[in-house]
Amino acid sequence: MPPKYHIETSQAPNRFPKITRSGIIAWEEGCLKCARCVKKDCIYQVYEKRDLDDRQMLDSLDSACMDCFRCVQNCPNRLIHKGLNPAYRALGDHYWTPEIISELWFQAESGRIPVSGAGYGGPFSGPGFDAMWTDMSEIVRPTRDGIHGREYISTTVDIGRKAMALEFGPGGEIVSRTPPVVEIPLPVIFDMLPWAPPGDNIPLSFLYGARALGTFAIVRQSAINPIIREFLPYAIIYVDGDPGSLHAQMLRSLKIIEVPDGEDPIALQKRFKSMHPELVVMIRLRLSPGARERSLYLIEQGAEVLHLVADEYGLEGGSDPLFIKERMKDVHLHLVDRGVRDQVTLIGGGGIAMAEHMAKLIICGADALSIDIPLLVSMECRVCRRCKEGISCPVGLDDVDPLWGSLRIRNLMAAWHSQLLEILGAMGIREARRLRGEMGRAMFFEDLEKEIFATMGKRG
């Protein structure tokens, strides 16, 4: 058994005060100065520790308040109220919601998984990943304790082509060539960002983070400069320029390279592999209705790894786009049908925003995932996308300290890893590899609705 994978975490404080869902509205006028709110009612000492952040003029009352409403309900002159914070609602968009962003911040700061009291308070279900539930088993599977760790749950996955059988020579020696495979201890690689403030600090944070976690960050060939070059062993170069300029020496410091799907990605794959046979080549493929046929074709031509990407909302290309989870199922099942699924590694990316999305996309057929925006959010990005317009970043991400950034990424991934263990543990599955394609161990909204609710109101 490999040594137990453990991600070191440490508190990495926010640089900016949190933007919280609600704030305290206290009308000073008419206050009796009875200090009941301060002395008696607030068990969190929010009023005693009150402070003003001088950079942003934010009152610490708002970020420290735990919403118990005791001061609201006990103020003799009823002067204290709570109100929703418009700045919170303005975070992100319909997909990258304020709730997702603030939970990502929490995890990046603390390295802990979000735990709360009382039952789930969100919607019954929703679009995309929110339209499925994962399984659990009551009694009949081996003992496991999730993150409390009585039995080791492995999250390691392999990237590369797999031989379906070994051939042996007359002397019992293996004669078939086994293709190169790269193991990553977490089923996650870091993708290029759809948008980001300029500069080297963000990619450096990613690369530091990838190094610490044992995974890889995809870097554009065109973005390689002397600083980035130092970190090539933790990088996957995305070939967006002249393949000819990638010389053998540079290739030998890489384990994985990514080529765009184009006219003949297989020729490019062969070219790189002839220069460095141990290199794993990934083909980046935009998800689309044609993805299943294209994937099958590429695999038949010898593709090792397909990186199937959706946009930042998890949608494929085309006029009536499917969500990544649906298209991943479609591609996976098609490849299973054709008996080639096990030969290849499928990595899905685009719209992965929460730890649960990892587990769910793997259930829908991915071996691993690529993530992008959550890594930026871990560094306090507010998903305002101003950088896309060339406007300066409100949280100064261009000159973020890469050490701090990588610590935040590490914390976030530690929290995601722990949450993946919870899901696997509840299902009684002890290997992330075995979660792949386990659609029978998930429950889908469409199926359940049809089975249960569509029959209502009818006799018999």
Binding site: R70, N74, S116, G117, G121, E138, V140, T143, Q419, E422
Partner: protein
């Protein structure tokens, strides 16, 4: 005791224990007021109290709001000085969440205070989760006007818990509900006792949860379900012998497949003693039962309980995996009298958010699956199915019964009756700031036992009245007639108002 002759406890007013109750509207009186006192006399809901300088709108949570304008007692209009303002309460929109929106919280608080359904325009029937119960309605026949007063009086709400036909006692509860396990440690002793005493007054049961059997409960032995869970905290042969129902807890809906975790802060010397543990150190209740790997193992445990207590009924509490129907059949074959299905949106003192949201299915799916499967197996009438995990209102209760449950088990609703605000911070620091889910001495003292007991009695009295009302409208004489009646339900995504005869409620 037959349920038909059960004498239900009386309702007594139990107003908020905080100075300012939270309501949808905020009533203010400006300086123009001459203290004529007209508003105090006019308002039939008691919003105002006379004051020295001017009346105080101290109970504005009882205010009808602007919809009162059609009444001749509308204070804003009648005030000679036009000094009264009724505005939305700004804090109200911050309250609650999608499953328990502010109106459902305030509506439940109203029932706990008064024992009656809210007269204000509060939606006390459903939440705002956009699916499941919140999209399901009863199809009630149009009123034909001959509903004679008192016609609902003989509608039975009792259910039998032992349907197995074995020699163990029959246990009838006069309301189709009992109160679910919340351990001593996760909630205060006052909360625990309030629930137990309310359950006793209502002739039903309250489960201890996995945290031992505090001696204060011993006066109520006949109304207690004691829980045997994976940590076996506080489980003794002696406590198993005290009670009429023993519950085996395999999993909990909010954290299915995960163990329990009581943070060290909450493990006070008293809690530690009860659980035979060390004060201050966190307690883990593992998952799953380390001695149960098969239905045969499960049967062995059920037999063990039955052997220790020859009169007890055995209940099995499970979560809602894909094969929940098989789990239920397994419990039946092991000899359980009751199978309790705990849906994934149920309550907890602390659980990872990822588990609450994603693992296992909501009770609205699981319950019908099990009901239909047991029907097909021909054993549905030999076992009692109790639904829990996300039952928030009398309407949820009635709906899940119509979807196949015999009755329901509740927890969060009780806490809301005790003025839980769903801040989701039960787990942090000293525990609940409102003195409900805490073991901190000072915070525990925020609540009085008599008050807590009465609040819960009031709320469930209002629930029972609503259930009787629904049964009456459906022309049923007993809640047992409602079980599995999918035909009286409509899901708004699949049926439109035009397609049904009757009104959707």
């Amino acid at each position: 005791m037959t349920a038909n002759h059960f004498h239900f406890p009386g309702i007594k007013k139990a107003p908020s224990r905080f100075r300012n109750a939270l309501g949808k509207y905020r009533v203010t009186i400006t300086k123009a007021c001459t203290n004529c006192g007209l508003c105090v006399d006019l308002c039939p809901y008691g919003v105002y109290r006379a004051g020295a300088k001017r009346p105080k709108a101290s109970c504005d949570h009882l205010c009808l709001g602007p919809s009162c304008s059609k009444n001749d007692f509308y204070c804003t209009e009648r005030c000679p000085e036009k000094a009264i303002r009724i505005l939305p309460n700004p804090s109200f929109e911050v309250l609650g969440d999608r499953r328990w929106p502010a109106e459902l919280l305030a509506g439940t608080w109203h029932m706990a205070e008064t024992g009656t359904v809210p007269h204000q325009d509060l939606n006390y029937k459903t939440g705002n989760s956009g699916g499941g119960f919140d999209k399901i309605r009863f199809i009630l026949p149009k009123k034909n006007g001959n509903g004679s007063p008192g016609a609902n009086e003989n509608i039975a709400t009792a259910i039998e818990l032992n349907r197995s036909g074995d020699i163990r006692p029959r246990v009838t509860i006069p309301v189709p509900l009992y109160l679910g396990g919340m351990s001593f440690g996760s909630v205060s002793i006052v909360t625990m006792l309030s629930r137990v005493r309310a359950a006793a007054a209502l002739g039903t049961f309250c489960c201890t949860g996995e945290g031992g059997y505090p001696e204060e409960l011993m006066d109520y032995d006949d109304h207690i379900i004691t829980q045997v869970a994976t940590g076996l905290f506080g489980v003794r042969e002696e406590t198993i012998r005290r009670v009429r129902i023993v519950e085996f807890k395999y999993a909990q809906g909010a954290k299915p497949g995960l163990g329990g975790h009581l943070l060290g802060d909450k493990v006070t010397p008293r809690v530690a003693q009860m659980r035979e543990a060390v004060a201050g150190s966190a307690l883990f209740s593992p998952f799953p039962f380390h001695s149960v790997y098969s239905v045969e193992d499960h049967k062995k445990h059920v037999d063990w309980i039955k052997e220790i207590n020859k009169k007890a009924l055995v209940s099995v509490k499970v979560s809602t995996p894909t094969d929940v129907d098989m789990v239920a059949v397994g419990s039946y074959y092991a000899g359980a009298h009751i199978v309790q299905l705990d849906g994934s949106y149920g309550g907890t003192g602390a659980a990872p958010d990822i588990a609450k949201k994603n693992i296992a299915m909501p009770i609205e799916y699981a319950l019908p699956k099990v009901h239909r499967f047991l029907l097909a197996e021909g054993i549905r009438d030999r076992i009692t199915i109790i639904a829990s995990g996300g039952i928030r209102s009398a309407y949820d209760m009635a709906k899940i019964i119509a979807m196949g449950a015999d009755g329901v088990c509740l927890g969060t609703a009780d806490l809301v009756a005790l003025e839980c605000i769903r801040c989701h911070h039960c787990e942090s620091g000293r525990g609940c700031a409102r003195g409900i889910a805490t073991t901190d001495g000072e915070l525990t003292n925020l609540m009085e036992l008599e008050w807590g007991t009465q609040r819960i009695i009031n709320m469930y009295s209002a629930w029972r009245a609503q259930l009787v009302h629904i049964l009456g409208r459906l022309g049923m004489r007993s809640v047992t007639e409602l079980v599995g009646r999918f035909d009286v339900l409509a899901h708004l995504d699949y049926i439109k108002q035009e397609e049904v005869e009757g009104e959707l409620d």
